[in-house]
Symmetry: C2
Subunit: 381 residues, 2 copies
């Protein structure tokens, strides 16, 4: 059976991107590659909405998180991190590993941080940097990034944003909102396999790199910035993924970044409408457009539903993590999805919960979703 990924990374790779990456590789120390790399980072800047540099690392998103910590903060520096899920917790692990004076704001899974509470906590702690997760992949909760950025600016603290699953799915105005460091990765809205991570650096962020005594090498952003004007990476880059990245950025910009955001909004709204009609509650009150985390009662069984989706439909959705193991479906709709994918997903989900004794009339989910999907702009309009 065909595999149909509805996971919040990796997401399906469109065939033309797969073929682009199957092209013969340029050597990375050639003008051809340097031009490719320069073109690609310029496209990334347009998607990031900034003229500041966007560094490309050959690593997963966690590598970019480590790069942000070891380059942008100082040993012993007071910092604040929001932990409202598995990826927010990772900020804390990294900051403790590197001996930063961490104040961690812990929230129940599914909640989004309150900017006002963050202001108080950051001021009290004297935080020089604030680390947040824009779209928390473990809970499907979205943070109010613009409001939190305003808080960081008021406090003159650096704002470092894990936008790994939100960039390209939600508006992220890197320059406009004054975000100092925004992280993303290739296997998310960029529709590529994992292996590349991206990170923007504001002027304030760049100023912290030089002279930072934290030992670092592979993730030394100073070296990455030094090579960037010549289209060079300090270490051998994942060349095939860079080929794919240029094509992926062009695909996003050809569709139009605002239209891509709108498509993610509508598809997420449609999933939420369908799930609500099935009487399945969301984990988060402020849900992300990248991933929908659905609570499934034990009598239905989240993992049994996931198994049915996989074995009968070839559909892979993620489950709950940590305390929510066996309690959630996490449905990814980030990247190259369209109305047809959502119709398939909701039909299959409805069939599987019905099979598990959850009484819903056939067609319930789609009846709720179809009016939402009508809002999509036709492709040739």
């Amino acid at each position: 059976m065909q595999t149909r990924l509805f996971t919040p990374g990796p997401t399906p790779v469109p065939a033309e991107l797969q073929l682009t990456m199957a092209a013969p590789l340029p050597h990375h120390r050639t003008p051809e590659f340097q031009q490719l790399f320069t073109r690609t980072t310029t496209l990334l800047q347009r998607i990031y909405r900034t003229e500041d540099p966007v560094v490309v690392l050959s690593a997963s998103g966690t590598g970019a998180m480590e790069a942000a910590v070891v380059n942008l903060t100082l040993p012993g520096e007071p910092v604040l991190a929001v932990n409202a899920g598995k990826f927010g917790a990772r900020w804390g692990e990294l900051l403790r590993t590197y001996g930063r004076a961490l104040h961690e704001v812990r929230l129940p899974w599914g909640e989004s941080p309150d900017p006002e509470a963050l202001r108080r906590a950051a001021r009290m702690h004297g935080a020089g940097a604030i680390f947040i997760t824009h779209s928390e992949t473990s809970t499907g909760a979205l943070a109010d990034l613009e409001a939190i950025a305003a808080v960081a600016h008021e406090l003159d603290a650096l704002l470092i944003v894990d936008a790994i699953t939100s960039l390209g799915a939600h508006p992220v105005e890197t320059r406009g909102w004054g975000l100092d460091c925004v992280l993303s990765g290739s296997q998310k809205a960029f529709m590529l396999p994992p292996g590349l991570a991206f990170l923007s650096l504001s002027a304030r962020a760049q100023a912290r790199i030089e002279g930072n005594p934290t030992p670092r090498f592979y993730f030394d952003l100073g070296r990455a910035l030094a090579g960037a004007p010549k289209g060079q990476t300090p270490w051998t880059p994942a060349i095939s993924l860079v080929l794919g990245l240029e094509a992926a950025c062009n695909r996003i910009l050809d569709e139009g970044l605002e239209r891509v955001w709108e498509r993610h909004q509508i598809l997420a709204d449609a999933v939420r409408a369908g799930v609500a009609a099935l009487d399945l509650p969301l984990l988060s009150a402020r849900p992300s457009n990248a991933v929908t985390a659905v609570r499934v009662a034990d009598r239905i069984g989240a993992d049994a539903v996931r198994a049915g989706l996989w074995t009968r439909w070839g559909i892979k959705v993620a489950g709950g993590q940590d305390d929510f193991k066996g309690k959630l479906l996490r449905i990814g709709h980030l990247g190259a999805y369209d109305a047809a994918d959502i119709v398939l997903l909701l039909s299959a989900l409805e069939a599987e919960v019905a099979r598990r004794g959850h009484g819903v009339a056939p067609g319930t989910a789609l009846a709720a979703a179809h009016p939402v999907l009508q809002r999509l702009t036709p492709a040739d309009a």
Copy 2:
């Protein structure tokens, strides 16, 4: 024109490996991926000639070098590193970055380390670990790995080997020679795009990881080892490259590892015979079978020859680095090369040096190379 890479990484990616990587991706937190990953690391062990774990990192070879330093040595620990080229120098940079008490054995570029001299230096310094480069890509020089391993064992020092361009091209008996940590990368003999690095860990090496106080996260080998029995990576892996890696390992093992070594030996011998017939000296007296570094007199002009190879033949060879900029051709023959590739390379090289006024009769290089190429085992034998 078709690009023909003769660079020591990336090397040409065979079409069937390109297509394997273009397949739909499995999600990495599934039994399908875990089985793939377990199969693949088992194949890697066969190529490494060890039953010890081989860790797969989503990073370039430099990332694996950093992982070796931060996991296997202690802050302030006396260590020895051989610097006989650009990549040996990188060991020194890393070890200094992380505050190890480094004794660096510096050799002129092109020389291979003398095991006896290393024994004296390591004993004098009280080195707990020795870092070497098996095949130094910047010079084409090969180290006598087996003899150096014997020295390390005699001194009870850990031996950490950058075999990034040698593994798969030269015999490397990880278990047999008692090599504690052997590094390689996907874009070398594995014939894949860059983006994955590998590293074996002997029992002695593993014992140094736990309790090592060096801060680390992405490159924490303890986390990688903890997940390995379940076919899990701690962070999202470069999935498409892992798909390619299984196929690449099978390709190597189907040909037969010893036959792959022999093919590299014969092709390298043929290149050296052709280059000698053209009266072009090698940089190294103990040349690697992965890359041939050829000195080119200024009156001929190494960079002019490289430009001619590129514009008239589509052939990309590397040039000299650092002090040898404009002085060398570095010809890679590591990976999926065969007799036809070497014939093309030598014909084009002969034509280009002749064009630059280096008087050689047409056919000189091939007349020298063909008898060597006769030693190849036919593919269907």
